[in-house]
């Protein structure tokens, strides 16, 4: 059973955190807009998936928006992001555009990975976004490497490495925790705990003392468990870990309780079997992070219902336009199959032109 807000401190206490006090009304509306855009992007991509416009898997982030948006809103110039295959929200949160993200789902040349990666493999290093990784926990050593690179280059930054609750049982994750603590690397592992690793609930997949993040204690590492529903709380508690990473180069594991409304992927045939309809409805009706933030903005007098509806409409329009953009975009050319394999070949260096690199007959 996924944790919801029962353990959350009283509303308002996190709003008072300095990192949240520093938010301007525009910043707060910006957080809403971003969550709204992510949700509309996911909804529109689902429609196109069902319309046969894309192949493979589509792992939707609907219901979890406050986690990516809240954590990534804290990042600066030398902070980096890497995640697993449920990666669309993080991409939009770092500032990638809907057009290139939607086109990637359609397998088009205008996609963020030129149609070569697909849903699970979004990247934008120029925005410190390192994917988008398909193998569960495969990204956890890479996140460690980003932190290693920061420390090696003597940059004050942190690597936020996201993983699902199902990834905590992979060996690569545990090896990463050991190395992170052993070498004091500024990596923050964020377990986006939506309660289910595909169709297997947390209680059926993991052994743990009080929560998954507590496993970090075995590596002498800081850890936290908190609800992801309130973006103030996500920001306030993640900021503590970021500051520790920046000033002390200390790693951490944060477990953020959240809930996905849709199946593991769109192809999840059993999404109504491994959890009850009532559970899903309860999270939709009582624990929607976007609705919660909406109430905060209205209560604080920052925005009216109408203002927020307008933002939602704009987001919907933008998402639909990205679908049109993707549809109208060309597929990659057959020649492009052999591009982006080797840096040296792409850049026509001596090394790239010495010896045969491809074997097609």
């Amino acid at each position: 059973m996924a944790k919801a807000t029962s353990s959350a401190p009283p509303a308002g206490s996190h709003a008072a955190a300095p990192i949240n006090q520093s938010l301007t009304p525009d910043d707060k509306i910006g957080l809403y807009r971003l969550m709204s855009r992510i949700r509309r992007f996911e909804q529109v991509s689902l429609q196109h998936y069902q319309g046969g416009k894309m192949a493979g898997f589509l792992h939707l982030y609907i219901g979890q928006e406050s986690v990516a948006v809240g954590t990534i809103s804290l990042l600066g110039e030398n902070d980096h992001v890497i995640t697993a295959y449920r990666d669309h929200a993080h991409a939009l949160a770092v500032g990638m555009g809907m057009d290139e993200c939607m086109a990637e789902l359609f397998g088009k040349a205008t996609g963020c990975s030129k149609g070569k990666g697909g849903s699970m493999h979004y990247f934008e290093p120029s925005k410190n976004y390192w994917g988008g990784h398909g193998i569960v926990a495969g990204q956890t050593p890479l996140g460690l490497g980003l932190a290693y690179g920061l420390k090696f280059k003597k940059l004050k930054g942190a690597a936020l490495c996201y993983l699902g609750d199902g990834a905590v049982n992979q060996g690569a994750f545990h090896e990463s925790l050991n190395l992170a603590a052993l070498w004091s690397l500024p990596v923050i592992y964020i377990i986006e705990n939506n309660g289910y690793s595909m169709g297997t609930s947390q209680s059926r997949s993991s052994a743990y003392p009080s929560c998954l993040a507590e496993r970090a204690a075995g590596y002498d590492m800081d850890w936290e468990l908190f609800s992801g529903e309130d973006i103030y709380e996500v920001r306030a508690r993640t900021q503590v870990a970021i500051e520790r990473a920046h000033t002390l180069s200390r790693p951490a594991v944060l477990e953020i309780a959240t809930y996905r409304w849709e199946g593991h992927s769109v192809a999840d045939a059993n999404k109504e079997k491994y959890r009850t309809k009532e559970e899903v409805e309860r999270f939709k009706n009582e624990h929607d992070p976007i609705q919660r933030w909406r109430r905060v903005l209205i209560e604080e007098g920052i925005a009216s219902e109408e203002d927020l509806k307008k933002i939602d409409k704009e987001a919907q329009k933008e998402a639909e336009a990205s679908g049109d953009f993707a549809k109208a975009s060309p597929y990659p050319t057959p020649e492009s199959i052999f591009e982006d394999v080797y840096w040296e070949v792409d850049n026509k260096t001596d090394a790239g032109q010495t010896g045969r690199h491809f074997f097609n007959d």
């Binding site: 890497i82 990975s113 988008g132 490497g145 290693y148 090896e175 990463s176 190395l179 982006d340 010896g355």
Partner: protein, 331 residues
């Protein structure tokens, strides 16, 4: 008198020179620093370069290889030692899905300038788990490069090229060769002031006219010995082509040699099924079929897991005698 240098010492010189040339180069692996290397390849480098550049890792291949790949995405140039290439299996997901694929899946936005290196050979009495030779498996993945030097001179020059390469390079050495010595000129004896061998250039190690023995890694040494026997005892002139890098592959040098001798055998210490020799034999027959006076043959390690028992292990790998026998069957 030319300078003699062991294979391990030649590698160490390559590391030392690249550490001096580029501050982003860092050596990592189990026991590479304070212990001076399990096979003493990195001996003395920690004393000279210190903790930032020469890093001991825990026994945690998936973790530290993946970490190196992540660091390489940010521009660090890690040279990662696997104490044995046999341990690639526990880091496999990182090597294949991350090092080799991330450039492609990101549409060319990322590259991984990483070298993963260590010994990959059988014949040392350590049983099947420690005797793997995965060069054919690695070379199967577009995105990776694969290098197998047969001697100290090539090891140094190719290692320097591998470290400067902007793609992931899998560099496979041999514990059987680490202590062997070859002529390796010092930098001041060289016209370019350094020893640098581009990846993707094969080398004719011995000229001949009757048959071409093609090989990589230590099998090249086996071929050179076989060529001497063929010459001395059978009057057969064998040419020996060392491909040096498997991917990228220098096909021209192989084809030129076979077009001259009209006979070819691929010799490798790897297993036969889907081995490197299978690819090369295919390439030869499909390109210059009319030049061949005999079928292209292969010699591999005998097709079973590496056996421990020393006298049998010695015959599981290709020997000069086996190469001679096979050559005689088509000459």
């Amino acid at each position: 008198m030319p300078r003699r240098l062991s294979y391990r010492h030649a590698l160490r010189e390559a590391f030392d020179e690249e550490l001096a040339r580029d501050p982003m180069v860092v050596l990592m692996g189990e026991e590479v620093a304070q212990y001076n290397g399990a096979y003493k390849v990195t001996e003395g480098l920690w004393d000279k370069w210190g903790d930032d550049r020469i890093v001991d890792t825990p026994i945690s291949e998936a973790g530290f290889i993946g970490m190196g790949i992540g660091a390489s995405m940010l521009g660090v140039r890690p040279v990662m030692e696997l104490m044995f290439w046999s341990f690639y299996t526990v880091a496999w997901d990182q090597i294949v899905n991350n090092a080799a694929m991330v450039r492609y899946m990101s549409g060319g936005k990322i590259n991984c300038p990483i070298v993963i290196r260590g010994p990959a050979n059988g014949g040392t009495g350590v049983g099947a788990t420690h005797s793997h030779t995965p060069e054919n498996i690695l070379a199967n993945f577009p995105g990776m490069k694969c290098v197998c030097p047969s001697n100290a001179y090539d090891a140094k020059g190719l290692m320097k090229a591998a470290i400067r390469d902007n793609d992931p390079v899998m560099f496979m050495e041999s514990t059987k060769l680490y202590g062997e010595e070859w002529d390796v000129p010092s930098n001041d004896e060289l016209p370019d002031g350094e020893l640098f061998i581009p990846l993707g250039v094969a080398d004719v190690k011995r000229e001949g006219s009757d048959i071409t023995l093609i090989a990589h890694g230590r099998a090249v040494i086996t071929c050179l010995k076989a060529a001497e026997i063929l010459e001395a005892e059978h009057g057969i002139s064998a040419e020996v082509v060392d491909i040096r890098t498997i991917r990228p592959l220098d096909e021209e040098t192989i084809l030129e040699s076979v077009a001259k001798t009209h006979r070819a055998i691929y010799v490798e210490e790897n297993k036969p099924f889907c081995g490197v020799g299978a690819q090369i034999a295919y390439m030869i027959q499909s390109t210059i079929f009319d030049e061949l006076d005999a079928p292209v043959l292969r010699i591999n390690s005998l097709d079973a897991p590496a056996i421990y028992s020393p006298p049998l292990e010695a015959i599981q790998l290709p020997t000069p005698e086996v190469v001679v026998e096979k050559a005689l069957s088509i000459c």
